[in-house]
Symmetry: C2
Subunit: 228 residues, 2 copies
């Protein structure tokens, strides 16, 4: 089953058409997960999440009351805890609800400790097992993670650049069919190869034998790419 997760990261980093994406997901009966402040963001948009996770410590009593009256499945975490709210959300979605493809919004921008928790939790036990099932999406990046295997990547509209790197020790990472190719790269250290591009056949094949690879589809945004 497909699902969407909205975390509490800054709205400025969300895709511009996020409300449309959420409504479309609702129509298809995809589940909507959210953590902490994300719950209120959704209610403001008139969208009731299916599952809300968090300690809700940044909400007022009346805001929490609103969540409790509207949302069917609420998972309370504790302010002093081993799991962050987003980790608890990911485990609920992937382990309890067996979501096969989770699109995650609100995971980037703002506090970088939060962003790194969100991404790096998928290179550690137990969520590393599910790293192929998730996708982080913001206003100009789509991030996918890959366990060992062979994968074909296809061009996406507007995303002109591709960053491919390893978040862990890596063995035999190869990139074929791209502007910049790589053959059997091995390293103990995480590294990002940025600004790669698709060629005419619009397909890039990556393969790896050990480790976890991160692939970031990137686009420049007008306001950032021009000086005027």
């Amino acid at each position: 089953m497909d699902a969407i997760a909205l975390l509490g990261g800054p709205k400025e980093q969300w895709p511009i058409d996020i409300k449309k994406k959420l409504l479309k997901a609702k129509e298809k009966n995809h589940l909507i997960f959210t953590s902490d402040r994300g719950s209120l963001f959704l209610l403001e948009m008139g969208i009731i999440p299916d599952i809300a996770v968090g300690d809700f410590d940044s909400l007022t009593a009346s805001e929490l009351n609103l969540i409790e009256n509207k949302v069917k499945d609420i998972r309370y975490s504790h302010p002093v805890k081993n799991l962050t709210d987003s980790e608890l959300l990911f485990r609920t979605a992937l382990e309890d609800y067996h979501i096969s493809h989770l699109k995650i919004y609100g995971a980037t921008g703002g506090r970088l400790d939060h962003m790194l928790v969100n991404i790096l939790t998928f290179v550690n036990f137990p969520l590393s097992e599910y790293c192929n099932n998730i996708e982080f999406i913001d206003i100009q990046n789509k991030i996918k993670l890959f366990n060992p295997g062979v994968y074909d990547l296809y061009e996406k509209n507007d995303y002109n650049y591709l960053g491919i790197g390893n978040l862990t020790q890596i063995e035999n990472l190869s990139i074929k069919g791209a502007k910049y190719y790589l053959s059997n790269y091995c390293s103990k250290f995480p590294k990002m190869f940025s600004s790669n591009e698709f060629l005419e056949n619009k397909k890039i094949t990556i393969s790896l034998e050990l480790g976890i690879v991160i692939v970031i589809y990137c686009k420049d945004i007008d306001k950032f790419s021009n000086l005027s």
Copy 2:
């Protein structure tokens, strides 16, 4: 010698008082490095960088002409290259100019492949040797990296949270004096422990025996932390 580097990341992520910081650095005769579009951002602020690095492929001919007339040391990179502009800047600053403390702005936000290149280049040869000499700074995060050793961290104004994690395999990472402590943590996989806090004595001591640790001082920003 101290220096500042301004990379081409989105202005929205720069500290609000960046111009003041740059002018203060100029007064103290600290060097100012910049890459690619950062050169123009600086000239717009009326600040002439000392060293400009890049392929300058995003500039017009007249903009490039302006840079070439104003900046003393220009390092041209090639559009098809092994080193990114920011890597070339870092190597120029740390290897050629022997900068002992480099504050790096414009390295975060926007395209995440760029951000990860900027950070992960310091866990790889040859720049890993210099990881203790640099600091990434944006509007709500200060990022420092640490090679094996024992380090005291002190509270910084407004930065209420601390993320501490490992970017590489790690041996015996300990965190003492913090709200959440850690004893001799060992792992093959990068991980971030977010939202830690200083206690009353306002000092946290971290130590590690192998690997590279990332410390992120974070603050919430009003527009992000409130819903209204």
